[in-house]
Point group: C2
């Protein structure tokens, strides 16, 4: 157990990497560009960040960003540490320390935060997910296999009643999970309150008739008071989940929601490409998602295998694995990975193989709704594909005795 915060970075620098790492340590703790009185102070000396490790890992072909010290850069992995006493176990302040001004330093033409290791005090001071995998399974009654889910599409433009009609179709199709698109929040064409009431009427009716309660992620992204009010409405209407766009609400907004919430929180990472797409710039999701787990996210998006975006499978899988890895042995704070984006039955097998777990939400839009035999067959084909994956059976083999799977294989090439 340590009382130091550790962060791993990939740095791209044309300067001496050891010197560049020291500049970074100075900038992010007690440095300035000319010496000033007080730098020989004992408290200041103890506050200084330390370069714990540095390893050159290769050459960069060219600078990723302009403005840096000229020259052909090398790539190095650097680990820095800070005493917890600089900031205490505060997530918003941690961000300024580990991902603050360092992206602008001239020493670097590229810099990416790769991972974080935090003192246990962060676990005591921050709420973490209240539900996670187990709570989500309990609320949905899905005791094994992934939650099969979908997203309301078209993303925007449907009225509350039209949304509820689609939810009826999906509920009757046997779906476990449905989410608002991140673009749908509280616009005048589909106000949040009307949508919740219309959708929950359908979900309650379906639960009364069948015993199965569909989990719907209502996007309550907004100001703090709005989010609290909306959360309470969802709860009053018998809903079991709320959703917030993490980059819109910020760590402070997410913490405020979590401190109030009695329902799990589905964290949407729209805008993520800006943070994490570039291999040598920004923040890896492995590091980033730890902050949001600590802040209270129960579900976190990880893209999906063979997704329609530009993220590699390797990156999506590393993200999902990280969410299912404990933050501390006695305080795991696991979050449920949400696989989505261009997902069809063809991704069930590879996802299982890569992750070795089905503690996840597998969300498909057209991959379910556009099944040639309709949404019920779409949902059923997903469950069949996952059953095959877990049994180690090729999906084509299982399709010989599952017509919904055979139809899906024909429809989704």
């Amino acid at each position: 157990m340590t009382d130091r915060i550790e962060a791993d970075y990939l740095i791209e620098t044309a300067e001496d990497p050891a010197r560049a790492a020291e500049v970074m340590a100075g900038e992010q703790s007690s440095g300035t560009f000319v010496s000033v009185p007080g730098e020989d102070n004992e408290g200041v000396r103890l506050a200084r960040a330390v370069v714990e490790r540095l390893e050159i890992v290769g050459d960069a072909e060219r600078p990723s960003s302009p403005g840096a010290t000229p020259g052909r850069p090398v790539l190095a992995r650097a680990t820095l540490s800070w005493p917890l006493s600089n900031l205490g176990p505060s997530l918003p302040n941690l961000l300024a320390t580990v991902a603050g001004n360092l992206f602008e330093l001239r020493a670097f033409s590229g810099l990416k935060l790769l991972d974080l290791r935090l003192p246990r005090a962060f676990g005591d001071a921050n709420p973490g997910p209240a539900f996670g995998v187990d709570g989500t399974r309990r609320l949905t009654g899905v005791t094994e296999g992934p939650l099969v889910g979908t997203i309301i599409k078209p993303s925007v433009g449907l009225s509350p009643e039209e949304t509820a009609d689609l939810v009826r179709t999906l509920a009757e199709a046997g779906i476990d999970f449905i989410k608002d698109d991140e673009l749908q929040a509280d616009g005048p064409h589909c106000p949040f309150e009307d949508r919740v009431r219309a959708v929950q009427r359908v979900i309650r009716d379906h639960a009364d008739r069948t015993g199965k309660r569909v989990m719907f992620a209502f996007n309550l992204t907004g100001e703090v008071d709005e989010m609290r009010r909306r959360h309470d409405l969802v709860e009053a209407e018998g809903g079991t989940l709320v959703m917030a766009s993490m980059h819109s609400v910020g760590l402070t907004g997410m913490l405020a929601l979590r401190r109030h919430a009695r329902l799990p929180i589905h964290a949407h990472r729209n805008g993520w490409g800006m943070f994490g797409r570039h291999p040598n710039h920004g923040v890896s999701y492995v590091a980033w998602s730890k902050l949001w787990r600590l802040a209270g996210a129960d579900h976190l998006h990880v893209n999906g295998i063979a997704n329609k975006f530009c993220e590699s499978d390797e990156s999506s899988v590393a993200s999902a694995r990280s969410l299912l890895t404990p933050l501390w042995p006695d305080l795991p704070m696991l979050a449920m990975p949400v696989f989505s984006s261009g997902q069809t039955i063809r991704q069930a097998g590879p996802t299982w193989e890569a992750l070795g777990s089905d503690d996840l939400i597998h969300a498909a839009g057209g991959g379910i709704l556009a099944h040639p035999k309709g949404p019920r067959a779409g949902v059923e084909s997903f469950r069949e594909a996952w059953a095959a994956a877990k049994a180690g059976e090729p999906v084509e083999a299982r399709a010989t005795r599952s017509s919904v799977l055979a139809d899906a294989l024909g429809a989704y090439k």
Copy 2:
């Protein structure tokens, strides 16, 4: 007056740029990768984003990020618009629409949000800065010229009493403005409450003796309840400003602070390099700062001319100009630009020439504290340099009759 949201982007694509812009419009409004029932719906049709303008502006030498459709990309400027009715005038939800999933689209090897034009409804629904330039001048009594300021350095490691001692020195030197470093918030070595009490005791004493009240930006970054409590303490102790790290608190956190605050808010942009450093990726500060002005930031950092980071002067100046340009003619919501980072008396003239305004905070660390005749001469030399700039007089000419300026010119090359 329009009820559509407009956003300008720089796109880097190896696909047909017109098609790529349409993909973006679809993704950010009502698209999915296979057609689904409901897409012929009238509401959905009206919700669709429109590509208003597209202009090819050049070639990119190579893709800025991996994972995109292969080929040599062109650069184009694209303007998209959305009906306000998709989301309403909500800042957190605006972010998901104009800066959401589009950074990950395969069509683009680079994408940067350059500017935003918002319906007036955003001005009604959001608080904007409560103080801005005029309120800041009123609270400090600085009726002309920039506020001459500095940052507590070393950034972390000083105790509350040591911080207050430095504030005493600076107040006696005649400074207008002092800020916490963004790394200093509420760590156990320098707790927020103790720091506020110690510093404000010095500031009140100084004001009682001289009539001059130094404005101190106390970094209250934290959870919502913490920020509210800290704000109230600063107010009770006679403080006139609070500071928050914008990327740490998020738009939702900033709005929560602003809705509560009776003091102006100094918004710190640490981490900005991740968002805006790359010319073809992320968000320009011109676009970004509009969101934070609407959320209530009174002061916004813009780096400085010849700064120690890698931002160009052109970019810093464009940011500052934007902050001093009205959002709407009848609702300007101006924020005060904060110039900082490696600033000395040598940047006064170029800053005045570039901006044509002194409605700004000019903050220097070593540039004031390391003046060879001490901090009082440091502050005085800044005022002299600005007086010369406004009079159109070369700083060297003025130095012939100002010894503090002559000393500064000798010290800061």
